[in-house]
């Protein structure tokens, strides 16, 4: 058993002096800064520059052409499909039958033609098409806080080629106009948003109406 009283101190009675954390040796100063801290910081700045500037610039410079051919069908999560207009460009989303290895299609697809943009988004929803449109309106308003597009006019009924009834409403923004259409297939909601420049005319193009009309859900949802 150690004897606590047996301690004999040969250690110093006060801590040895150490300069403050902020002290910099005279031969390590550069414009008042500690030169030893320059290299690691510049290395990190270089990495930040590559990640936040170089890569986005490269991405912007790389062209992307995935043009819709006649007969193409876009597929989304939950077996939701629509027929894109031939000649438009696919900017996100996958063609039917060309899904990822996991089998899980993405929840949204976007195609563009000039300044026209058409996006279809899907997700679980309990309610009818009118309620979905109300929900979309509420969420859009909350996110935009009056700055983006806003809904104009009263909702109207829209019917797909397969006879599915949905709800639609016009939207306008500072420089864009278009429409939102909502459908509910069982427990799955589908939102289609078409936007374009306001000077292109107030009426949605025939191509947009054809694409909205082609929205459908085939078979059972994949798990």
């Amino acid at each position: 058993m150690p004897d606590p009283g047996a301690e004999v101190s040969s250690a110093a009675s006060a801590p040895r002096f150490e300069p403050d954390e902020g002290w910099v040796p005279a031969d390590e100063r550069l414009f008042g800064l500690d030169r030893r801290t320059l290299r690691p910081t510049l290395a990190v700045f270089a990495l930040v520059f590559i990640m936040s500037v170089v890569l986005p610039v490269i991405n912007a410079a790389v062209p992307y052409h995935d043009i819709v051919r006649a007969g193409d069908v876009m597929e989304l999560e939950g077996n939701v499909t629509f027929v894109p207009e031939a000649g438009w460009g696919i900017t996100s989303g996958l063609r039917e039958g060309h899904g990822p290895i996991s089998g899980q299609y993405p929840a949204a697809a976007t195609i563009e033609h000039g300044a026209l943009k058409f996006t279809v988004r899907t997700g679980p929803f309990h309610g009818d098409a009118g309620q979905l449109l109300d929900q979309i309106e509420a969420t859009t308003d909350a996110l935009d806080q009056g700055r983006g597009v806003h809904i104009t006019g009263a909702p109207a009924t829209i019917v797909t080629a397969a006879g599915k009834e949905g709800a639609t409403v016009r939207v306008t923004g500072p420089h864009t106009g278009g429409l939102i259409a909502a459908f509910v297939f069982g427990d799955r909601g589908v939102e289609a948003v078409a936007t374009g420049p306001t000077d292109a005319g107030a009426e949605p193009s025939a191509a947009v109406l054809r694409m909205i009309g082609s929205i459908s859900q085939s078979g059972q949802e994949k798990r």
Partner: protein, 393 residues
Amino acid sequence: MTTTLPELDRARDVALDLSGWGRRFVFYQPRNFAFWGYLALVGIGVLNFFSTLAREYNAYGEAIGLAVTSFAIYAALFWWFTDRIDHYAKLPHKLMVVAFVWGGFAATGTMAANANDAILAIYGKTFGQVWALNWGAGLAAPFTEELAKGSGLLLLIALAQRHIRTAFDGFILGAFIGLGFQIVEDILYAMTSAGTQFGANQIGASVGTIILRMLTGVAAHILYSAIFCAGVIYLFGRPAEPRRIGRGLLLIAIPMLLHGIWDSVATIAGQNALTLIGLLIGTIVVALIIVARVYQLTVARERDFVRDVMAPEQARNVISPIELDAMAGNRKARKAYRKAGRNRQERRRARYILDAAYALADELAAARGADIDRVRFARSEVARIRAGLPSPW
């Protein structure tokens, strides 16, 4: 072999100098370029995060509230655990906060998020959307996110040159950087989930994501960054950790590989749910085994510091040789020491003696080995507990 007291005292001084244990950390260092770099990059990240939160709060307030509360509790648990495993030559808590904040704001919003978006888009344009969906995340995030998190350690070393001295310091700070990254990323994931049902049923839509992220988070960013940052220390070397380039590169590559496999697990498994679950569990188990090995590898030097700092106390009979072995040993050694007591009272006293001895080690470190009042009081506490006397305080 060191035998005399003066030699032991000198060895203690060397250990304290090398380890940086007990030194006070000052964050405000206007003459340190890393200080300004840190402030700028974290500031951008903070602005990014809170502007996103403010923009989405009106729409997804319920889900954001749930996510922030849940992940704050989750973070507190991991904080406690990570702080607990750093019980040898401890790092200052302030430094842990600095690491956490880097991971949460600079590594995410300022760095990785921009790079991830760009790389995924480039993959989609170059190899097609299907390929990008299959392999994009697994071949983007391991590079961008691990580098973004790990680069923070370079700034931390420049900010705390006298504190970050061993691979174990890198391991602990890496874990805190990873914890910050994970918590902020989890909150953003929960926010995204809240919108998947058009803003309806936000809690239902995000709670699954929150639970999944909590369960899988055990073997994710915290673990990856801990290994990566230990590798960074080996790669560059520190005063108490000789440079080992091969080991450093290996420890940097391992978390990248684990991260890549984790992000590609659904693609590797295909559409077979059982394979997917097996792969998920397998990846977690392998990751945990690796992190445990890296912990054992790095902690050895810290235990040597404890032994060097406390050996003079053993020579002065403040603690016994078996107590010194327990202090500088692993959890099993401490448990064996405690269990050696003949009855419950002795076992409990053994635990208190160890706690008091660790407190003495911290006081000695803070005093740079000097025999000051605080050290003498800490010694007297060891003696008091050993004698079974009640505390007068």
